[in-house]
């Protein structure tokens, strides 16, 4: 590899990783928003995945493939457990319940000896790389495109536009809601595990309310018409602070300004187009 490319990749390695990981997080938000629900538990699921994976790697030396599976399974289980009692909630109430989940988990991480308390876990070996991060993102994107072209996708869109009508037409609402939450938790958990295995250090504060709002803003900035929107949103919001680095003190001001302008003038997100359906006639 030529030296300049090597230096470039070294300089921007964690930024490029972050693009992929945040893309996965944006997709995990997309699944829930796509059926018209608002969950703010993505950061909590991410934390659960990150801690599960880091503990397995550090304490038990589990092979990385198994670690990744566990990092999806544990949040999925948590989503099932909280999904059933919160099935009757929707809109802001579901959002509040999931914020609660996030805080409970954060406080549990802070107070547990196993997770190192506020000091977090450090010295996590770097096991994830470009292939696995972007492979996972690509797979998830393909899966979502296929889903949105199918009967499932139509049902999800019907739920988003009018839940009552969708239910009357035979869409099994509880099943869709639980599945969406579980898939979302798995994606967030995977993203958390990948993040833990490239940044070598995790602490409870990485998965607080701020993180939940950041993940939500990926999806809102990008638009939720198609799975590509949230990923584009994640890429832009991840790149902005680094691209604006030369502005020094004014960096955060411009960062905020760009986001405000984007939301004001493109209320349906930067990528408003929808995925065409099989059998659809214009």
């Amino acid at each position: 590899m030529p030296a300049f490319l090597d230096d470039f990749l070294f300089s921007y390695q964690s930024l490029i990783y972050a693009l992929g990981i945040n893309g996965l997080l944006a997709l995990s938000m997309y699944v829930v928003l796509a059926i018209g629900q608002l969950s703010l538990g993505q950061a909590a699921f991410m934390g659960l995945g990150a801690y599960t994976s880091a503990l397995l790697t550090l304490k038990l030396g589990t092979p990385f493939a198994l670690v990744l599976l566990a990092s999806m399974a544990v949040p999925a289980l948590a989503a099932l457990i909280i999904g059933v009692p919160t099935l009757r909630l929707s809109g802001v109430y579901l959002a509040l319940a999931t914020i609660g989940l996030g805080e409970v988990l954060r406080i549990a991480f802070v107070n547990s000896e196993l997770t190192g308390g506020a000091l977090g876990l450090s010295g996590i070996p770097e096991k994830a790389g470009y292939a696995i991060i972007f492979g996972a993102l690509l797979l998830a994107l393909i899966a979502f495109v296929l889903v949105s072209r199918s009967r499932l996708g139509r049902a999800m869109e019907a739920m988003r536009e009018d839940e009552v009508a969708a239910g009357m037409l035979g869409v099994h609402l509880p099943r869709y809601r639980i599945s969406a939450l579980v898939v979302s938790a798995m994606l967030a958990g995977l993203a958390g595990a990948l993040n833990a295995h490239v940044s070598s250090f995790i602490s409870p504060n990485d998965y607080g309310f701020d993180a939940a709002v950041t993940i939500l803003s990926y999806a809102l900035l990008g638009g939720i018409g198609s799975p590509f929107g949230p990923v584009v949103g994640a890429i832009i919001l991840t790149l902005l602070p680094e691209v604006l680095r030369p502005l020094h003190d004014f960096r955060l001001v411009f960062n905020g300004l760009i986001i405000v302008i984007a939301v004001l003038f493109m209320p349906h997100g930067l990528v408003p187009w929808r995925i065409g359906r099989t059998g659809a006639r214009p």
Partner: protein, 378 residues
């Protein structure tokens, strides 16, 4: 073939240019990197540190720079107190700016993230304000010039015990931050060792603003003092809450490094009176070098320096001495030279231990907050 010939023909030309280039290069600045919190809620630490570096940098360059006349320069990167940004900053400094040494980052949390990056690329990284346990255990390229809490807190508590006869205390700490949690661990161990009874241990979150629940409980237990591990905002809130609840004057707050900032007195005002903290340095230190530093700092920035500025100030001289001793701006040589540096600055004599922590703890002073200023207590 033709290409090769042209290349050969160019050789003598290149050789004649060589000497000129070498001369120009000798005046090229030696640029090191620094990662500090320059924006966001914790930027008071980062800015004090940057001020300290810049002041020392001026002095180094006025006195002939480093490596026989090359000026020293610092490229600053902002971490905004965020570990991911600290990693990005470290990677850019190493990969793009090719610095032979990195100063910072500001917080221990950030060092746990950025330290391994520098260590992996064999670039020495020197923390000037990272006091948590385990920082230098990251690897052989990670140094720190800040005294860890484990060295400072026991001195503070021991002094309080001797001078005030403290027997039973209440402890409060922020349990969601690496810095305040690790200071608490040190406090707990030191209290046990000194045989001071802990009546209760209360926790709070770094962003909390109301501490009346914890303080009311503490007041009922009637302690001799309250031992607090908190950063500036929460710590000031506790002091204000303590005054509002009408604690007796003689119940002092004994703080960790996080409370060791003039900002606390600015926020808490009168309520800060009597608060004790241990510090590797304080503004009223009688030492002439220290007084000169305070004067120069006030003249340049029109504000009082704190210990973070002082630590940064000394660190830059230590680093400059190491670069000179290394004889070249090469990371490996600088790393070896750092381990051997002996320097006496505003904080007193300094050298690194084998584990790259500060060796001397003689400079620790216990200071008390009184009417908006620090006074020496021991």
């Amino acid at each position: 073939m033709l290409k090769k010939l042209t290349a050969l023909a160019a050789l003598p030309l290149a050789a004649s240019l060589w000497s000129a280039a070498a001369l120009a290069q000798s005046k090229e600045p030696v640029t090191i990197g620094a990662i500090e919190i320059l924006t966001g809620p914790n930027n008071k630490y980062g800015i004090a540190i940057k001020n300290g570096f810049d002041l020392a940098l001026e002095s180094v360059n006025k006195n002939g720079g480093v490596l026989g006349g090359r000026p020293l320069a610092i490229t600053y990167e902002d971490s905004a107190g965020n570990k991911d940004q600290a990693i990005n900053a470290a990677r850019q400094l190493i990969g793009r700016s090719k610095v032979p040494l990195i100063l910072g980052p500001t917080l221990s949390n950030e060092m746990f993230a950025a330290g391994p990056v520098a260590n992996e690329r064999k670039i020495p990284i020197v923390g000037t304000s990272t006091t948590a346990n385990g920082i230098t255990a990251i690897g052989p390229y990670v140094f720190r010039t800040s005294l860890p809490e484990a060295d400072v807190v026991p001195v503070t508590l021991k002094t309080a015990q001797q001078k005030l006869g403290i027997k039973k205390v209440a402890v409060m700490y922020g349990n969601d931050d690496a810095f305040t949690k690790s200071a608490y661990d040190v406090m707990k161990a030191a209290l046990e060792k000194l045989g001071i009874e802990t009546l209760t241990t209360e926790t709070f979150g770094g962003k909390d603003t109301d501490f009346s629940a914890q303080l009311t409980k503490i007041k009922g237990l009637n302690p001799d003092a309250i031992v607090v591990s908190a950063l500036v905002e929460a710590g000031s809130g506790i002091l204000l809450g303590k005054k509002a609840l009408g604690f007796p004057e003689k119940v002092r707050v004994i703080g960790g490094n996080g409370l060791n900032a003039p900002k606390v007195m600015e926020i808490a005002g009168d309520a800060a009176n009597g608060t004790l903290v241990g510090s590797p340095w304080f503004i009223g230190k009688a030492d002439p070098a220290s007084q000169k530093f305070v004067e120069a700092y006030k003249a340049k920035y029109n504000m009082d320096p704190d210990q973070f500025a002082a630590q940064a100030y000394d660190t830059l001289f230590i680093v400059a001495a190491a670069i000179n001793a290394a004889g070249a701006a090469e990371p490996e040589k600088i790393k070896d030279a750092l381990g051997k540096v002996k320097y006496t600055g505003v904080m007193g004599p300094f050298s690194f231990t084998e584990n790259r922590d500060p060796a001397e703890t003689s400079g620790v002073v216990v200071i008390e907050m009184r009417d908006g200023g620090f006074k020496q207590f021991n």
